[in-house]
Amino acid sequence: MNKLDIAKSEPLWNTNKNITLIISVLLFILIALPFFGLNSFYLHLFIMIFMHAVMAQSWNVIAGLSGQISLGHGAFFGIGAYASSFFFVQYGISPWISIFIGMFFSAIVAVLIGIPMLRLSGHYFAIATLLIGISFQVVFQRWELVGAASGLWVPLTQEDSWNSLQFHSSKAPYYYIFLFFLVVTFFAVWLLNRSKIGFRLRAVRDDAQAASSLCISVSNYKIIAFVISAMIMAPMGSLFGQYILIIDPDRMFNIEISIIVLLITVLGGIGNIWGPLIGAAILIPISEYSRIYLGGTGGAVDLIFYGLILMVICIFRPEGLISFVPKNILERKKQR
């Protein structure tokens, strides 16, 4: 065989058996965990990890895959939360359906914001998204239809209800729902990475000018990335709304949401599909435990922690914690 035939006979992806095994074991453990009587605090902790891993994955798509730093991604979280709750409160539409309504609205907003804003590049895009994120909070604080500053209160069901997506006796159903969304999201992003769209988004990220010499419409692909990212974020807002059952602008459009997804992704490893999961698994426990030990007044202390961690990462491991994982376990090893 000549060199070309050898090259053509190589598998398309050098999928590593190690990583398949690790994921299977991890998934099995996570599915089994609630059966070992996790108390409600630990269930809550895992739910928050799952949720933030998906939220960070959403940010990873726009920032890591297409190279646009968004500082207003919390807007899509809030839109998801409000859309599902509003349609449930007003029209009794099951949250399961209104999750999709939230995704739809987020996608529309992403297109409307994206068309003018993705023409901005680099810092200017980041600043613009920061302001958009804040302005959503201001608008919802004053919008009477959705309860203005006091927000929406989801009417409580008498009993646990899958249809209404409310569980009062145990957090375990929420645990599985969030885990399900985590798995689906990561699988979808994994597929996206390997698709033609994924290749083209990475081209736009690495060099927009070179990309456009290869028939890639840079602005269209940036909008595609923005829409995909928004549609990943929105269901987390919807589910979080169903989890705490109070939807108010201060919580759902909190600027902290936009910041923490960035922190998690950078900590874990930006541009790597596993970065958001690793980042969330480390940052969320720090945040939750600091809240326990330092109480409400210690609210800002975890931010100091984040700042320190971020500084250390940026100086010593700009590729994130994922870079500590041995290369032969990671998928993208080089065949030479």
Binding site: L12, K196, R202, A203, A210, A211, L214, C215, I216, S217
Partner: protein, 240 residues
């Protein structure tokens, strides 16, 4: 047969006329060399044709279709490929991935796009480097990467900006051979080149620019003996 016709193309940056009233034609299947001293407007001309810079006025016809003012992705979609003087590889991706991104233009199936990309990588003689990241490649190899990537969109016209610029003497003959190989595939080539020996060797026609203006157009022989070209390169003795 003409594949590209440029008429009275102009572009000014502030008061500087980077391209002024440039007209020329490129013959299908031939190599057109573009020469001129630094600042003559060669790269600007490429940017105008490929849509990276918007022309002020003039006409650009590609296969009798007006492409004046179109965006780069639309122009490349019509079959005009290009490489860049300041190289623009997708640095954090492998050579194979770089070329695959080009191959996706003509092929949606990932396996087929990969195989097409591999054939082009073999064509530019880098098959052993296919899994190297672009940033790990030498300048000469990255030039080949850009040529491969541009070839992957199966262009009818390929604009190459200083293929032999910035590489060592040993690397140059291989790159020149590669340009000839591309021409032999039937691709029309317009190439900017500083090395006069090379441009004389590979070009069927030469366009000479100086200070944004066309000063000569003709066969390599004609250009070699053109007084204006000699003056532009060597400087006139009586010039103040």
């Amino acid at each position: 047969m003409k594949i590209l016709t440029v008429e009275n193309l102009s572009r000014a940056f502030g008061g500087i006329k980077a391209n002024e009233d440039i007209s020329f034609e490129a013959e299908k299947g031939k190599v057109l060399g573009v020469i001129g001293p630094n600042g003559a407007g060669k790269s600007t001309l490429f940017d105008l044709i490929t849509g990276y810079t918007k022309p002020d006025n003039g006409k650009i016809l590609f296969e009798n279709k007006n492409i004046f003012g179109l965006k780069p992705d639309k122009i490349s979609n019509l079959g005009i490929g290009r490489t860049f003087q300041k190289l623009k590889p997708f640095a954090d991706q492998t050579l194979l991935e770089n070329v695959m991104i080009g191959a996706f233009v003509k092929e949606n199936n990932i396996k087929k796009a990969r195989d097409n990309a591999l054939e082009i990588i073999e064509f530019v003689d880098l098959i052993e480097k296919r899994h190297h990241f672009a940033r790990e490649l030498s300048t000469g190899q990255r030039k080949r990467l850009e040529m491969a990537r541009a070839m992957a969109i199966k262009p009818k016209l390929l604009l190459m900006d200083e293929v032999t610029g910035g590489v060592d003497q040993k690397t140059i003959p291989g790159l020149v051979e590669l340009i000839k190989k591309m021409r032999n595939l039937g691709v029309t080539i317009i190439t900017i080149e500083h090395n006069i020996n090379i441009i004389m060797e590979i070009s069927d026609n030469i366009l000479a620019l100086d200070q944004g203006k066309k000063i000569a157009f003709g066969s390599p022989k004609e250009i070699q003996n053109n007084k204006k070209v000699i003056d532009a390169y060597l400087g006139t003795i009586d010039a103040a």
